[in-house]
C-alpha cells in the first residue's frame, strides 16, 4: 500500500466523523487566527515605528522612561537641551507625536518634526509645499486627500485652532499616509505639550560609540530611556505587554489544540478497534499503525493551520481596508513569514505530542478479541 492509500485511510477516517473533525479543525484554526492576527498587527506596527526613526539614519532613540507608548512620552525641554549638548552627538532630531480629533477621523496621527529637512526625509511631497516656520500649516497624507482636502484649504479644530493645508504627501510607511505632518511648534500647540517633545533621534559623530552613549544617557538621565534607534518599535510598556499577551494567547491556543486533537484521536481509536485489529492481522507492524494515527493528527492540524492562516490573512486585509476608510492609516495586509514559520513549527510539534498517547493506544488493540465477532 502506497503513501496515497495511507493518506486516503487517514482522510476517510477524519471524514467519517465530519462534525467532530470540523470542530477540531475550527478550534485549531481559531487559535492560529488569534495568534497570527495579533502577532502581525503588532509586528507591523513596530516595523512602521522603526522605519519612521530609521529614515534619518540615526543611532539612538530617546523617550521618557515612564512612557507607555512613544505617543505618551514627554521629554522636558531642559532635558532635550542637556542631551543635545553632549559632544558625542552630531545631530538631534526632535519629534512630537500624538493623536488629535479631526472632522474625518477622531484618531488622526500627528507628527511634528524639528525642521523642514526632517519632514522632507519622511515624506514625498505630492502637491503644494512644506509647512512654513511660524505658521500653523500642515502637510496631509494622501489618505486624507481622499476625504476631499486640498492645499490652501483650512481645517478648523474644535478648540478654535485653524490649520492651513500647505501640501499633500505620500510615504512608504502606511502609518504616515493618514497622518498629518507639521512643525514641532504647531504639534506642541495641538497636543498641549508645553515645550515638551515625544522622542529624540540622535545621530552620533562616531557610530561605534552607540552602546557606550546609550549606557551613559540611561545612567545620567534616569527620566529618559535611550535605545538603539533600530529597536524603537520594541520599546514601550504597551509593546512589552502586547508581547506577553501574545505568548499567553498562543500558549493557551496550543493547549486547546493539544486537547482537541488528543480527544478526537482517542475517541476515533476507541471506535475503530476492529480496524486496527484487521491491520495487525494482515501483518501491519505497531509502527505502521502508529504512523497512521500520527498522519490523521497531522491532517487535522494542518487543515486547522491552513484555515487559520487564510482567516488571519482575510482579517488583516479587511482591517486594512476598514482602517483606510475609517481610521485614516493603513495596516499592511501581509503575514510575517517568520510568524508563519513559528506557528507552523509549534503546531506541528503539538500535533506530534498530542498523537503520542492515541498512537500508543492504537498499538495496544487486542487483535484476536476485536476480530472474534462481526
Amino acid at each position: 500500500m502506497g503513501r496515497i492509500a495511507f493518506i486516503k485511510i487517514a482522510l476517510i477516517n477524519i471524514a467519517r466523523h465530519r462534525l467532530r473533525s470540523i470542530l477540531t479543525i475550527s478550534g485549531i484554526a481559531f487559535s492560529v487566527t488569534l495568534f497570527m492576527s495579533f502577532a502581525n498587527l503588532s509586528a507591523d506596527f513596530r516595523n512602521q515605528v522603526d522605519r519612521i526613526a530609521n529614515q534619518y539614519r540615526v543611532d539612538i532613540a530617546v523617550q521618557a522612561s515612564d512612557a507607555v507608548t512613544p505617543m505618551s512620552s514627554k521629554i522636558k525641554p531642559e532635558l532635550v537641551q542637556k542631551v543635545s549638548e553632549s559632544p558625542a552627538i552630531e545631530e538631534a532630531i526632535l519629534l512630537s507625536v500624538g493623536k488629535i480629533r479631526l472632522p474625518w477621523n477622531p484618531y488622526t496621527f500627528i507628527i511634528g518634526l524639528s525642521s523642514i529637512e526632517a519632514v522632507s526625509k519622511q515624506v514625498r511631497l505630492l502637491d503644494g509645499d512644506f509647512p512654513k516656520v511660524g505658521k500653523d500649516q500642515v502637510l496631509i497624507g494622501f489618505q486624507t486627500v481622499r476625504q476631499g482636502y486640498r492645499p490652501g484649504q483650512h481645517i478648523k479644530l474644535k478648540d478654535g485652532i485653524i490649520l492651513e493645508i500647505s501640501g499633500t504627501f505620500s510615504s512608504d510607511i502606511p502609518l504616515l499616509n493618514g497622518a498629518i505632518a507639521m512643525s514641532l511648534e504647531t504639534s506642541r500647540r495641538l497636543i498641549n505639550r508645553d515645550g515638551q517633545i515625544s522622542l529624540m533621534l540622535l545621530r552620533l559623530k562616531h557610530e561605534v560609540q552607540q552602546a557606550e552613549i546609550i549606557s551613559q544617557l540611561n545612567s545620567i538621565f534616569p527620566e529618559l530611556h535611550a535605545t538603539p534607534a533600530a529597536a524603537l518599535g520594541e520599546q514601550g510598556l504597551v509593546v512589552k505587554l502586547a508581547d506577553r499577551m501574545l505568548v499567553a494567547v498562543f500558549s493557551l491556543g496550543l493547549i486547546i489544540g493539544f486537547l482537541l486533537i488528543t480527544n478526537t484521536l482517542v475517541m476515533s481509536i476507541f471506535e475503530r478497534t476492529r480496524e486496527f485489529g484487521i491491520l495487525f492481522a494482515v501483518g501491519w507492524s505497531r509502527l505502521a499503525v502508529a504512523k497512521l494515527v500520527i498522519l490523521e493528527s497531522l491532517a487535522l492540524s494542518l487543515s486547522g493551520l491552513l484555515l487559520g492562516l487564510g482567516l488571519s490573512w482575510s482579517i488583516l486585509v479587511s482591517l486594512s481596508y476598514m482602517d483606510a476608510e475609517n481610521m485614516g492609516w493603513w495596516i499592511s495586509p501581509t503575514l510575517d513569514p517568520a510568524m508563519v514559520l513559528v506557528s507552523t513549527v509549534l503546531i506541528l510539534a503539538i500535533t506530534l505530542l498530542s498523537a503520542l498517547y492515541p498512537s500508543i493506544l492504537a498499538t495496544r488493540v487486542p487483535t484476536a478479541e476485536t476480530l472474534r465477532y462481526e
Partner: protein, 137 residues
C-alpha cells in the same frame, strides 16, 4: 508468512476491494505498481476482476469473503489459517469458495489449517482432527 481468513470478511469499508487486498503488502518492500499488479491478479483469479474499485458494502457476502481470501493469500503465505471461512455463507457459495481455496493452495503448496463445524467442508481436508471442549479427540 502466515495468511488468515476469518469467519467474517473484516474488510475495511473505507477502502476499495483492491486497496483492501493491497493492505498486507504494505510492510513489504516492493513498488506500488508491483503491489497493485499482484493484488489485481489475485482478485481476478477470485472472479472479482470487475469489482476492483468497489466499496465492500456494495458487493454480496460471497464476493466479500472471496476478497478476504484474496487478502489472505496476496503475500504468498506458507500456511493459511482459516477460522470458519464459510461460516457466514450459504452452503453452495461456501463450497465454491472452498474449492477455489483448495485449488489455489494445492498449486502453490500452501498448507491450510482450517476450523469448521461443517462436515462437508471438513471432508475436503487431507487430515481431520476433531476437537471437543477444547481437547483434540
Amino acid at each position: 508468512m502466515v495468511g488468515m481468513i476469518f469467519q467474517f470478511h473484516h474488510l475495511i469499508p473505507a477502502l476499495s476491494l483492491l486497496e483492501n487486498v493491497i493492505l498486507p503488502l504494505q510492510p513489504l518492500k516492493s513498488t506500488m505498481s508491483e503491489k497493485r499488479r499482484k493484488a489485481k491478479s489475485l482478485l481476478e483469479s477470485c472472479g472479482l476482476g470487475e469489482r476492483l474499485e468497489f466499496d465492500p458494502r456494495r458487493i454480496s457476502g460471497g464476493e466479500r469473503q472471496r476478497a478476504a481470501v484474496a487478502r489472505a493469500l496476496v503475500n504468498d503465505p506458507c500456511i493459511l489459517l482459516a477460522d470458519e471461512p464459510t461460516g457466514s455463507l450459504d452452503s453452495q457459495t461456501g463450497k465454491a469458495l472452498m474449492n477455489f481455496i483448495l485449488e489455489y493452495c494445492r498449486k502453490r503448496n500452501i498448507t491450510i489449517l482450517l476450523v469448521t463445524h461443517d462436515s462437508d467442508i471438513a471432508r475436503m481436508a487431507d487430515r481431520v482432527l476433531h476437537m471437543s471442549d477444547g481437547k483434540i479427540r
